[in-house]
Structures are given as C-alpha cells and as structure tokens.
C-alpha cells in the first residue's frame, strides 16, 4: 500500500483492475484506493503476473503492507511470502523514519486459537489464520472456518469463477440450472424434489445474486462470459441446460457458443426473445427496502398470488438482505433492462440451435409475455401452462420436472 498523501496511515482498496493470476504491465492501473481525503488509481510498479492478492476490495491496509505480489513470467510461484518482511525494491514510503514497525499490542501478539487441522489447511493454502473468524468455543478456528474462507476466495469478487452448487447423483446427462434475475440457486429447490435423484445437478449462481451479492456485473456479455467460464470449469462432456428468465437467455447464449457440450436446452419464460419486460416489477423488487414493499411485486410473478405466502416473502426478503446486493442488482437491471426493455436479443441464437430445445411458459406470465415464444423455430418444442405465471418451475414444479426428464 503506497503512501500517496502526507497524512495517510492506511488506504482502502476500492477495486482491483487486475485479477489474481492475470498479467499486468508496469504503469497499468493495478487497483483503486480511497483514503480519508481522496480516491486514486495506483499503477503497477512492475510487469508480470499478479499473485497472492491478500487485500480484498473494501479492506483497509496499513501503508507499506503488501497487498499482493507480482511475479516475473517464469518465476516460481510458491507459498505466500512473509508479509511482515517488506520486499526489497518495494516502493519506499516518503518518510521511512515513520514506518518503523510499532510495538505490537497484546491483542496482536496473543496466540491464535486454532485446531491442528485448521492450521494445516491454512498452511497448505497459504492463508493467514489471524484473518479468519473461529466458530468454535472461545473463537477457536476450526477446519470448516478455514475451508469456508477458501470457498469464498474461490468465488472471489474479482477473479474467481461463479459459485456452482452440485447435488444429485452420478448417472446420466448432467443438468445445469441457471436462475433468473433477482433470484438465486435456492429457487430451484421445489423443482429438485421432482427431478431424478441419480442425475448430477449443477446450480449456478450469477454475480450480484446468491453467494456473491456485491459482485458487480455490468452487461449481458459480462454475464455470458462468467457463465461460460463457470461452465467450462465443470468440464462436462454433455449437459442439459435449464435456464429461467434471464438464466434462459444465458443458457441460450451458452448453448450458442458451446454447441458440442450442450446436448439439450430447456428454457423457462426465457428473456432475450423479444423487447418487452415488466420494468415496474424489476424496479419494485430491486428497490424494496422492507418485506412489506417486496411482497406485492413478488405476487406479480405468479398467476395465483396465494402461493406467495408470508413465509415465502420472509425467505425471499432474508436473501435480499446481503450487503451490496440491492445496489449491484439495481445496476445490473439498469444495464440489462433499461426503460423496461430487454437490451439483448437472442432470437438469432435460437435459430442456430440444433440440439433438442424446449420452451416452457405460463400463459399468465406478467413479466415477459409468453407470445415471445411464438418466434421460435419450428423444431423447438413449446409447452404453455394455463393459470401459470413467470415461475413455472415453482408453480408447476412437478410437470416442469417431467418435461425436463423427457
């Protein structure tokens, strides 16, 4: 953390411009910082590959402390270097005399409580135990605490892949499920009950949703890239993509670019097949600051408002409470659905699809009109449900599961 102004003692990382593991050239923007007074861009001091990023976005870092390491192209990347020892040749702060390490407070020198297994994992993964909150008695760090941190690191806001939750068995063509806007992987729970138990099921979670609530995504292309990256990491020979609404558009875009790995496609009230979309509901859901103001908008998603019970509203609300989620979704909605219009068009992609594809829609969908399905080529199957709204996978879980299984 460079010292960029006279009174600065620490700086907050606002955002990284370069992902961990990515190449960077000296002079390129590396990260943005914020101090008490100012915000500025920090340029990369060297060329190479960024590794061991130890300061996440939002972290306050004392000046002189490393926030990451840049390795030469052919340099061996080992364990995390000792952070307490500044590297030689590091940009020196302007008044070195003030940077003499101060005596450590008793809290800092106190030994960390951690189980041997937690220590082993932290040691092997190169993470600092001191940064991890322990869940066992007296704050003892257990294996699960370290593993949890590593999981979050893997779903890193900057460089990591999207979270993918696996369930089911090991037989048959895997199902890859992509949820819709303002939803998350848990929205498939009702459908899962009726899907075959032996089929592997992968539920992706989009940025600005679920486990990465504050992770920004700025465009449809951005989402497609991330979904494709997550899909590639699954390394599936064949997959049946199931997408709902925005997830349907993403599934279609993914199938368009990975035709060899996608063997079937099921789209539930997919976006991307026409310009109209209910901007009021999107705005209402992303704007809601209380369960009471969320409930009426949730009811517009279904044909029978009674299924949106108080419990359902509370559960939906608790999932929307994550810090940053509302802002991230509002920004995403502005990019995807400006002025109540779908800004992306996948009709050409649907025309190119050669694998078996099916569109399922509720005739009372008030979010995206079911008539968008009529533009699909003749080879695509179409299933329309009466008395069903935008959430056919919830409203008609069993019937939709049967169609997926056919």
């Amino acid at each position: 953390m460079p010292k960029v102004d006279m009174d600065m003692t620490s700086g907050r990382i606002v955002s990284w411009h370069v992902a961990e593991g990515a190449e960077v050239t000296a002079g390129d923007p590396l990260f943005d910082i914020e101090t008490d007074k100012a915000a500025m861009e920090v340029e990369s001091p060297a060329s190479g590959v960024l590794q061991h990023v130890r300061a996440a976005e939002g972290d306050d870092v004392t000046i002189g402390q490393p926030v990451g390491w840049i390795y030469a192209e052919d340099e061996d990347v080992g364990a995390v270097p000792d952070a307490s020892r500044p590297e030689e040749g590091q940009a020196t702060p302007s008044r070195p005399s003030e940077e003499v390490p101060r005596p450590r407070s008793p809290e800092e020198t106190q030994k960390i409580r951690a189980t041997p297994r937690a220590r082993k994992l932290a040691r092997e993964a190169g993470v600092a135990l001191g940064d991890i909150e322990g869940s066992a008695l007296r704050g003892r760090v257990q294996h699960a605490d370290v593993a949890g941190v590593l999981d979050r690191v893997r779903a890193d806001p900057v460089s990591g892949s999207l979270p993918v939750i696996r369930s089911g068995g090991d037989e048959g063509v895997p199902l890859v499920l992509i949820h819709g806007f303002a939803s998350d992987a848990s929205s498939w729970a009702g459908l899962l009950r009726f899907l075959p138990k032996d089929v592997p099921i992968y539920r992706m979670e989009l940025p600005a949703h679920g486990k990465s609530p504050a992770r920004p995504a700025s465009s449809f292309q951005d989402l497609v890239r991330l979904v494709r990256q997550a899909f590639d990491l699954l390394d599936l020979k064949a997959a049946h993509l199931v997408g709902h609404s925005l997830g349907g558009a993403l599934a279609l875009a993914l199938a368009d670019t990975r035709p060899r790995q996608v063997s079937r496609l099921t789209l539930l009230s997919p976006a991307g097949l026409g310009p109209e979309i209910n901007g009021k509901t999107i705005a209402g859901i992303t704007r809601a600051k209380r369960a009471e103001s969320l409930a009426p908008w949730l009811k517009t998603l279904v044909a029978t408002p009674e299924i949106i019970t108080d419990n359902y509203v509370q559960a939906a609300w608790s999932q929307r409470g994550a810090p940053g989620l509302r802002d991230a979704q509002r920004d995403l909605a502005a990019a995807l659905f400006p002025d109540g219009t779908q800004s992306f068009d996948l009709r050409a992609a649907l025309d190119r699809i050669t694998v078996p594809a099916r569109i399922i829609w509720g005739r009372e969908d008030r979010i995206i009109p079911w008539r968008h399905a009529l533009g699909a080529p003749g080879a695509v199957s179409l299933n329309l449900f009466e008395r069903t709204g935008h959430l056919s996978h919830i409203e008609r879980a069993e019937e939709v599961a049967v169609l997926i299984g056919q």
Binding site: R119, K120, S135, L137, R140
Partner: protein, 336 residues
C-alpha cells in the same frame, strides 16, 4: 476365520464362548490346564468353567486354595515347565493379591533369563461394575497390567472375540491377561465352532463413520454403538473402534481413523485419570495424526472414586450412553 466356520456360527453367550474355547483347548492340547478358586465342582464364581471338570477331571481342572498369590504362583511355575495354564481370578480385584507373581515374575522371567524360558500363562479376570458388588468387586484394573512390559492385555467385547482371543492367548508364548466384563457374560452373539483365533494387538472397527472416532473398550463398545445410532439421527456419523487389545495397542487403526474423522473420543470404564484414554490421546497427539485433529480430544472414563454400592451412584460412576451422546455432540459442534 474361514467361510465354512462363519456359516456354522451359532449364538452362544459370552461365558459359553469362553468355556467352549477352554474346551477346545483342553481337548486338542494336553498341556492346557485350568486353575482357579471354585472352578472345579462349583463351576467358577460366574459359572464360566461350568462342567468342564466332568470331562477333563480334577487333574486338568484344578481348584486352588483361597490364595491368589499362591494359585498365580503355581500357574506361573506350571507355565515355566511347559504347561499352558489358564488361571481364573474370581474377581479381577483380587489380582492385587497376586501382583508379585504377575508383575515381578511372569512379566520378567523371560527377560531376566535372556530369553531362555517363556511364561505362556493365560489369566482371566472377571472385571467391571454394574452388578451391585461394590468397591472391592467392581473395579477395572486393566491399565495397571498394561503398564507392565512383558504382559499382554486384552478386553474382548463380544462372545466371538472372547473365544478367539482366549485361543490366541494360548498360542502366545508370553503371559496374556484377559479382562472379561461381568455384565457381558450373558450377552449372546455368533460364535464359530471349533478352533479359531482373533489376533492379539488388532482393534476392530465396529461401525464406520466420518465425523468422530470413538475408541472404546469392553462393555463400553456396546454403549458407544448405541450412542452412535442416536447420533446418526442427528447427522453425526461416528466411527466406533473396539480396541480389543490394550497392550500392545493397535496404533495404525486408531491413527488412520483419526486422520479420517479429525476427532477423537475415548470411552472406557476404568478410572479416567492415568488410564487407557490418556495413552490413546497421547499416542495421537505424538503422531502425524495430530495435524488432523479439529477439536479437543475427549476422554470419558470412570469417576475418581471407588465404585459405590448405591445402584444409582454405581451407574453414575461410569460413562453411560447419554454421557457419550452429549460429549460427542459438544465436540462435533465446536462447543468444547
């Protein structure tokens, strides 16, 4: 044990299995003799020898006088001459009277005579609480003997192992101490016919699990298995290891299990302090399995007091199923 023996397995009580082991040994090896107080005409304090005297006569099923020191001394001497004596104590508590013969003679003679002789004696100790027999007839003293190099100590928990370990003990050239829990004598289980052995020094995994390794001995194996079933209902899968042999310890089985589950609980009836649980815990802490521990080790042992006569206090003095469930739950959930 071969497949044929398995098919022929029928149910016997633990006491019957021991008697059958002695019967098999007496019939097949004329060096085998039984010794002990009231084991002849009376059939033994717990009727384990039963009517063996009718088949093998008083020369091979020998009632000894009421002197544990004397009886044990004769048994050790008989072993030195090449016989294979099985000496029964009425209660393991009375072994305190025979410690000179067991600890100073049986365990050391081979060593002190440079390996010129060995002492192939087998001693049987009815042990444990739960019968209302109070402080001088209810102890679990196996750790005393396990502390002595030169002795082997086993604690069978099933009729199958009671027979197999006794027959293995007879094949062992050195003194083997068998601790039999008195409450197990009536327990029934599958026992193969004829001759078979259960290896000394080999623990048995009675239940596989991934969340916690519970090492138990003797009757505690059954309490732990009961607790494990209840814990499974809460989603905690315990691996239950029946130690079977206290000395020499089956290091590999225990360590492999701890590496797998990352948690260790030791359950034994003997007084907790300075007991088998301490040894198992230290063994794990000293090994590479230490790195896999994800919670403090737990020992559940007997209370730091003589076994009380009052039946409620007697129960409270040794680990019960509820204690095991509560301890494992607290450990797995990070509350220790």
């Amino acid at each position: 044990m071969n497949v044929a023996a398995d098919i022929e397995a029928r149910e016997l009580s633990y006491a019957e299995a021991i008697r059958e082991a002695m019967d098999v040994a007496l019939a097949s090896d004329e060096r085998v003799i039984l010794m002990g107080e009231d084991i002849g005409v009376y059939g033994g304090a717990f009727q384990v020898t039963g009517d063996l005297i009718d088949t093998y006569g008083p020369d091979r099923v020998i009632d000894t006088p009421i002197s544990e020191l004397g009886g044990a001394g004769v048994a050790v001497g008989a072993a030195l001459t090449g016989l294979r004596p099985i000496f029964e104590f009425q209660f393991s508590d009375f072994a305190t009277l025979a410690m000179e013969q067991i600890v100073n003679q049986a365990a050391k003679v081979r060593y002190m005579l440079g390996g010129a002789v060995s002492v192939p004696v087998v001693m049987r100790f009815p042990a444990g609480s739960g019968t209302g027999a109070a402080a001088q007839h209810s102890q679990s003293l196996e750790a005393w003997f396990a502390h002595v190099p030169g002795l082997k100590v086993v604690q069978p928990s099933t009729p199958h192992d009671a027979k197999g370990l006794l027959l293995a003990a007879l094949e062992d050239p050195d003194p083997v101490m068998i601790f039999e829990h008195k409450l197990l004598y009536k327990m029934r289980g599958a026992v193969p016919e004829g001759h078979y052995t259960v290896p000394i020094g080999k623990a048995e995994i009675r239940r596989e699990g991934v969340d916690v390794s519970i090492v138990a001995t003797s009757i505690m194996v059954h309490k732990v298995l009961e607790a494990a079933e209840m814990l499974a209902g809460e989603g905690i899968e315990a691996e239950v290891i029946d130690l079977r042999t206290v000395r020499p310890l089956d290091r590999e089985t225990v360590l492999a299990s701890v590496r797998k589950t990352s948690r260790l609980v030791c359950v034994y009836e003997a007084v907790k302090t300075l007991g088998i649980g301490a040894e198992i815990s230290a063994m794990v802490a000293e090994s590479d399995a230490f790195d896999y521990l994800d919670a403090p080790i737990v020992r559940l042992g007997g209370a730091e007091c003589p076994i009380p006569y009052n039946p409620e206090l007697e129960k409270a003095a040794v680990p019960q199923v509820e204690d095991i469930i509560e301890a494992v739950r607290a450990q797995v959930k990070g509350r220790l």
